[in-house]
């Protein structure tokens, strides 16, 4: 019903926007209720005005609605569940904010109406960003490849695994929705490189907890570090997603609510980091610098640091710290980009090898970032393979 109402709303808006002869405003559509959010911490969402508990700024009103979007072709937004008309992928649920504005005026209004020239305001649907990718229960937090669900794996006691599932705002799925999640935890498996098939040797179904807030299973792993993989379907029509966990210690519930915003990734590369960069670092962040750093002045220094960042990425992956791998990876790409002007000084053959290698480092860094977000070890390692090969070729070309 909600989707149909949204469709009618959009169609009414279209009619209003395109019928130049009709200068009369359409009948007011039924609008979603107002919510209140922080401009710096979109995960903060209240149903009444107030201040952000994190930065104390006044919350601003937003009008949120649900739609179905293609995970790749984000222009494809439907009001009903289905497949993408361009690539046939399953549409994923997204949350959008609704605003209305007039041409030549950036002011965003929270309801339709008329502009000063009498024409109807134009409706806009903006996707809401993911604001909080930090664990709530001391576990490891990943975003699902569908770009909507988030999960957190916890290992609170030996042989016990918990899976918390969140929506795109990091809100826990209600028990009714959690019931649709099918998941198991795998502690042993084998991979045959010839057939490229994985065989599970020890798998344990995850079942709803008594209080209906997470899924849990008893596993056969009792030692630390504990490595295991959650294989999750978020619904009957969902693809199965894999999330790899490495627990070096038992996870502990934080003493206070752990709603600490994650440091802004782009801020690492941005010359002028936005306000979000000033927020505290995640509680589980590695001992790595997150601030803008100067590029070394000499090529040997750049290469030395590049080599070091490659090592850091490799070590983080080995530890299963996928949430942090992007930090040295992104620094490595900045170093690679800094080398690009120096290609002109290389001999033909070395330049021939070095130029695409620099692009591979950049692409590899972004791949590591994407794979780290979803916590899939196979993907992280595959991305690292591409990244490391690029780094090796860069070092060979410039040394």
């Amino acid at each position: 019903m909600r989707g149909i109402a949204a469709a009618l709303c959009v169609l009414m808006l279209l009619t209003a926007a395109t019928t130049a002869q009709q200068r009369r405003a359409p009948a007011p559509p039924k609008l979603p209720p107002l919510s209140y959010s922080c401009i710096h911490h979109p995960d903060v969402l209240e149903d009444r005005p107030g201040v952000c508990p994190l930065c104390k700024l006044a919350l601003v009103p937003v009008r949120l609605d649900s739609s179905w979007m293609c995970p790749v072709h984000t222009a494809v937004i439907e009001t009903e569940r289905g497949t993408c008309r361009l690539c046939q992928r399953q549409l994923v649920p997204v949350t959008v904010s609704l605003t209305w504005s007039c041409r030549g005026d950036d002011a965003a209004h929270l309801e339709p109406g008329l502009c000063s020239d009498g024409s109807p305001r134009i409706g806009q649907r903006a996707l809401r960003p993911h604001g909080n990718h930090n664990p709530r229960h001391g576990g490891q937090f990943f975003m699902a490849p569908d770009n909507w669900h988030h999960i957190e794996g916890a290992y609170p006691t030996a042989r016990a695994f918990r899976l918390y599932v969140y929506d795109d705002y990091g809100r826990p799925l209600p028990a009714a929705a959690l019931k649709d999640v099918q998941a198991r935890i795998v502690t042993k498996e084998s991979f045959d490189p010839a057939t490229r098939k994985t065989t599970e040797l020890a798998a344990f179904p995850l079942r709803m907890s008594r209080n209906g807030t997470y899924l849990e299973a008893r596993v056969d792993t009792a030692t630390l570090p504990a490595e295991m993989s959650a294989k999750v379907r978020f619904g009957p029509e969902s693809d199965e997603h894999r999330f790899d966990f490495t627990f070096e210690a038992l996870t502990k519930e934080p003493a206070a609510p752990a709603s600490v915003p994650q440091a802004n990734k782009t801020a690492v590369v941005a010359a002028a980091p936005p306000a979000a960069a000033a927020t505290p670092q995640p509680t589980q962040a590695p001992d790595l610098s997150l601030g803008p750093q100067a590029i070394p002045s000499s090529i040997p220094e750049i290469l030395g640091e590049l080599k070091g960042k490659d090592t850091q990425v490799r070590e983080l992956i080995a530890r299963g710290d996928f949430g942090a791998v992007w930090v040295p990876a992104f620094r490595a790409k900045e170093l690679a980009i800094a080398l690009e002007p120096h290609l002109a000084h290389l001999s033909g053959q070395k330049r021939d090898a070095g130029e695409p290698a620099l692009a591979r480092v950049v692409r590899g860094a972004w791949l590591i970032d994407a794979a780290g977000d979803v916590g899939n070890r196979q993907q992280v390692e595959a991305a690292y393979t591409a990244f490391a090969a690029g780094v090796a070729d860069v070092l060979a070309a410039f040394q």
């Binding site: 959010s37 710096h40 605003t99 806009q124 782009t266 692409r363």
Partner: protein
């Protein structure tokens, strides 16, 4: 809701969604990218993508305005990371090939940062000027223009069609061609084309007709220099096989096309460009990374001008190396051929291959593929194993 009605409503909503999603100044969307469309992104898109991603181009969307580009930010990110775009999949630097279409490390980072960082617009005073589809012959007016004999219609209920056209050359004598190009009548649907020479001589052989050209949108035709040229026998016909594909903008619409082939003559007595087919007839591909010999050692010294792929496993990385009689190894190309982008890769300089040289391939799989939603899982080729490449060569003088 009735299916047709629902589809129509969906199409309307899609358009609406595009219209709504592209309004500048979106509320509550954090901007983290220091790169903007006007200052940083548009120049890259204009220089590297405008051949296809332009209004009426073959790509599903134009990227020549901010409003057109913003809704495709995530798609841009995925396509770049998957290595699908730009559709140039050679590992080596662009300097080794005449028709390279790569983007640099900085350009890739700008696009990815912008696509993931809120897609900011930039300075309105620097709004890019309109970019129109360039419908000209890239090499100038051809020596001979051969319009297709008939207009072809892609029906409303078909998304994709293959059509073949036979174009008589009417050459009373043998002619030499230095280049062949195609000018689409309706660029938005002409997705690729191959041009083969059909003559009495080629009909008498069991193999396929010689390939004269592989045409792709955005791929500039290469004119042979020196004395090398493609030989077209007297009275030969040109067999043009066109793949038509509609983008979503033409879904459920009838589209017509009548393209034109352009021929560029070379001086007489040119050296004939030959096709050296390299086939892998070994057992099914089981282990990635194994070296496999393609065909017999080269019988006569040649110079390789270009290479193009035929069959190959999906998601495969292929390295073709020449192993000289003395055991020296030289990489000719390392690439990841994409089925939809079968092109000829023209070497910047001809590569000499002496008599007795063996050609070997090494095939690996792109294991990062599962990290990206748009990739297919690695699979063997349609016949389970085949790697088939063709070298265009001329005899060594």
């Amino acid at each position: 809701m009735h299916r047709a009605s629902r589809t129509a409503a969906g199409a309307v909503l899609l358009v609406v969604a595009v219209l709504l999603a592209v309004q500048p100044g979106q509320a509550h969307k954090p901007i983290t990218s220091p790169f903007t469309y006007t200052d940083d992104v548009f120049p890259i898109l204009r220089d590297k993508c405008a051949r296809c991603h332009v209004q009426d181009g073959v790509a599903p969307m134009s990227l020549m305005t901010y409003e057109d580009t913003v809704p495709w930010g995530e798609s841009i990110r995925v396509e770049l990371l998957a290595g699908h775009m730009p559709p140039w999949s050679v590992d080596a630097g662009p300097a080794r090939f005449r028709n390279a279409q790569s983007i640099s490390a900085r350009e890739m980072n700008v696009l990815l940062t912008w696509a993931t960082g809120g897609t900011p617009f930039g300075d309105p005073a620097k709004t890019p000027p309109p970019v129109a589809h360039d419908r000209k012959w890239a090499l100038g007016t051809p020596d001979l223009e051969l319009p297709f004999p008939n207009e072809f219609t892609v029906p409303a209920d078909k998304q994709e069609e293959i059509a073949e056209f036979v174009l008589p050359t009417g050459f009373p004598d043998r002619r030499w061609l230095r280049a062949v190009d195609l000018l689409p009548g309706t660029p938005a649907v002409v997705r690729s084309a191959s041009v083969r020479i059909r003559s009495a001589a080629s009909s008498s052989t069991s193999g396929p007709d010689p390939v004269l050209a592989l045409w792709l949108p955005g791929d500039d035709p290469i004119a042979l220099d020196g004395h090398a040229a493609f030989e077209v026998p007297a009275g030969a016909e040109l067999l043009v096989r066109v793949r038509y594909k509609k983008t979503w903008q033409y879904e459920r619409k009838e589209v017509k096309d009548r393209s034109t082939l352009g021929l560029y003559f070379a001086p007489d007595a040119s050296q004939a460009v030959r096709a050296m087919v390299l086939s892998d007839n070994g057992p099914a591909l089981q282990v990635a990374g194994a070296r496999r010999q393609l065909g017999d050692p080269i019988a006569d010294a040649v110079r390789a001008l270009a290479i193009y792929p035929g069959d190959h496993p999906a998601n495969a990385g292929i390295v073709l190396s020449a192993v000289g009689p003395d055991g020296s190894r030289r990489e000719l190309i390392a690439f990841h051929p994409q089925r939809d982008w079968a092109r000829r890769y023209w070497f910047k300089e001809p590569i000499s291959l002496e008599r007795g040289t063996r050609l070997e391939t090494t095939v690996t799989f792109d294991d990062e593929a599962p990290a990206l939603p748009s990739n297919q899982p690695p699979t063997a080729g349609s016949d389970g194993s085949a790697v088939r490449l063709t070298l265009n060569v001329i005899s060594e003088k």
